[in-house]
Symmetry: C2
Subunit: 388 residues, 2 copies
């Protein structure tokens, strides 16, 4: 059986290699021709992904062929779509990339093929939008059983995606009963810890509420850190002894970044607001706003620290150490550390950055001033939340 | 060594028996003379507490003597205070019971005695209020080492208190270093899983943030249930598959009741508001309000169900099944199920109650109408959240 994986990014490429490693012929489709060529040469574009190097070397150019042309995937019977879904400045999802991918899949879709969406999406995206795009382009009808459509939200974590796919529980749900069964049977071959849920809608919701759990709990950790600071209490000591079987207080931060956690709550918040159920997502919205506002708290803490120095405030060299959205992942999407840098700059402060993962040149391209931490007057470690 | 336990309620009595069971002579002090007499006769006033019967039979009248007279505790070297702290209608703590207990302890306090507060309290209660009451009444000075004062917040759960004391992690922190050490050494004799933290203030905070974690997470479960209902999704199915090592979505409810979880967040919220840090407890306040507002959601759900019946709304017999704050615990303090009953009554609906733990007579004393569920038109199971 041939399986197409559409989207060879941080989530798609590990999945494509794991499917190939289970003995399927995989056609990987991506818009980036350089990336496709590199993959076909056996090069790994995500070096921080444990175990990916090996799988790419083993399968690329053989069981895994990368291509920019959907036509090369025409012989596939299964199409897994795992392309990014971005949100605009108002936190509304922009479906254009997803729509483009599915319309292209629709053009080559044949009777009895299975399509699985892996991208995390707002509720009912699979059963409404995706179904519509596929039916329009293919002329096939889902209700008549002419093709199958399911959702199995990716649960990867960059750096640990291969082990997540091999060990972590994953869910799959169909737009109808046969779709769920069909997707479950095929996915079971490469996802050992797989659970069939009652619908694609439930599968969508499961992924979103996981993100909400994280976002709200990180917000609570941030709030408790502020309260502890105000009371002269070491938050980390309190957290250590508060946590046990029934209490899992998270770690505080400068906010929540990346493609996932800060985005998913908005899918539910916006959906409820569109339905005029304004009060139904009040906690989620509050947590989202508070997490985004955390940079103001840290900016104030940094300024208070600067005031202790015997120097004009504008001359204090402030180094923000760590600007990625998560430690060890070279990714700036929705990075609150970067937002903190920009906030401090907007106040007229003399802000520099340092990050192990970025060169001086790369930083300067982003219009940021680079500094060796030792040359700064004050260092804020954005991951350890330590001021030195 | 003789140890006084002041307060023989649901938290104090299990602790007193566990201390007695470790070989100490325990003087239990309580204002309720009937309760003291019953305990001295070997009767257990908290039958739902697993293992308590046996410990009371074994020690009462021997290693454990209950009394209403603080004078009987004069020979004790350790005073453990575990009396209730209620909050008023504005959610401000009412310290009168606590103050009375500590002033009485102060009157019999001798040099080098240790006092430990077990009641969960607002931040800095131990180091400020309790210290003040004890010093005023005893004439002794804490700073000069004339007595010791520590806080070790109770972590019991009615029904499981004995096993909690024997197995669960517990913390203790002193108002000064010597107090912490002294309390740790003595407590270690009857609390095996004991951790010394750096101060009484940290110990207070640890207990409060545990409550906050629960309150916020129950609020999130309630919010996600509302969203799931709106989307036509089975919340419980989604929760089952969303939860794993890194995701612990709680169970929804009619709100949060009892003496602990709905009270502790207010201690932090009020403290921050008193300091004019209004934004510092915004998530905690939002969660608290939303949990209390859940009865409105359930009232609406019940009314919508009533409307399906072919009867005038005012004639539909509604049975709320389960009115205690928690299933299996005969306690109505801050019960949201009871609040739901009153809310429905205030709307002019024909509301009845049923609870396995209460007789018809007891219900009628509370001015509630009792019904056998089978005689009702609609039953709302307030624990299972099921409408029948």
């Amino acid at each position: 059986m041939r399986i197409a994986v559409v989207g060879l990014g941080k989530a798609g490429l590990p999945l494509a290699t794991v499917i190939a490693d289970s003995g399927f012929e995989v056609i990987g489709v991506d818009i980036d021709d350089r990336k496709c060529e590199a993959i076909n040469r056996g090069e790994n574009p995500i070096p921080e992904e444990r175990g990916l190097d090996e799988l790419i070397k083993k399968h690329s150019g053989k069981g895994l062929i990368a291509t920019t042309d959907y036509e090369d995937a025409r012989e596939c019977e299964v199409f897994v779509v795992i392309v990014p879904l971005f949100t605009d400045e108002n936190n509304n999802p922009d479906f254009s990339i997803l729509e483009n991918a599915f319309r292209n899949v629709g053009k080559i879709l044949k009777k009895r093929d299975l399509v699985v969406l892996e991208t995390s999406v707002p509720p009912m995206t699979t059963e409404k939008r995706v179904k519509g795009w596929l039916e329009e382009e293919s002329g096939l009808e889902l209700e008549s059983g002419e093709f199958y459509l399911a959702h199995s939200p990716e649960r990867i974590m960059t750096g640990y995606s291969i082990s997540r796919l091999k060990e972590f529980p994953k869910v799959v749900g169909g737009v109808n009963g046969e779709s769920g069964m069909k997707a479950f049977e095929i996915y079971k071959n490469f996802i050992p810890n797989l659970h069939l849920v009652s619908s694609a809608r439930v599968a969508e919701f499961i992924k979103l509420i996981e993100g909400c759990y994280r976002d709200v709990n990180i917000c609570m950790a941030n709030e408790l850190l502020k309260i502890a600071d105000e009371l002269g209490i070491d938050f980390y000591e309190a957290r250590e002894y508060a946590n046990h079987e029934y209490c899992q207080i998270h770690l505080p931060s400068t906010g929540v970044g990346g493609h996932c956690i800060p985005v998913y709550p908005w899918f539910l918040i916006k959906e409820m607001e569109n339905r005029e159920k304004f009060g139904y997502a009040r906690l989620l919205r509050t947590a989202r706003e508070l997490n985004d506002e955390m940079i103001e708290y840290w900016a104030e803490r940094i300024i208070v620290e600067c005031l202790k120095l015997d120097k004009p405030l504008s001359e204090v060299k402030i180094c923000i150490r760590g600007i990625t959205f998560r430690e060890g992942v070279k990714e700036l999407y929705h990075s609150r550390n970067l937002a903190l840098v920009r906030l401090l700059m907007s106040k007229g402060l003399n802000v520099f950055v340092y990050d192990d993962l970025f060169s001086k040149k790369e930083m300067e391209k982003l219009e940021l001033k680079w500094i060796e931490p030792k040359d700064a007057d004050i260092i804020f470690d954005a991951f350890a939340l330590k001021l030195e």
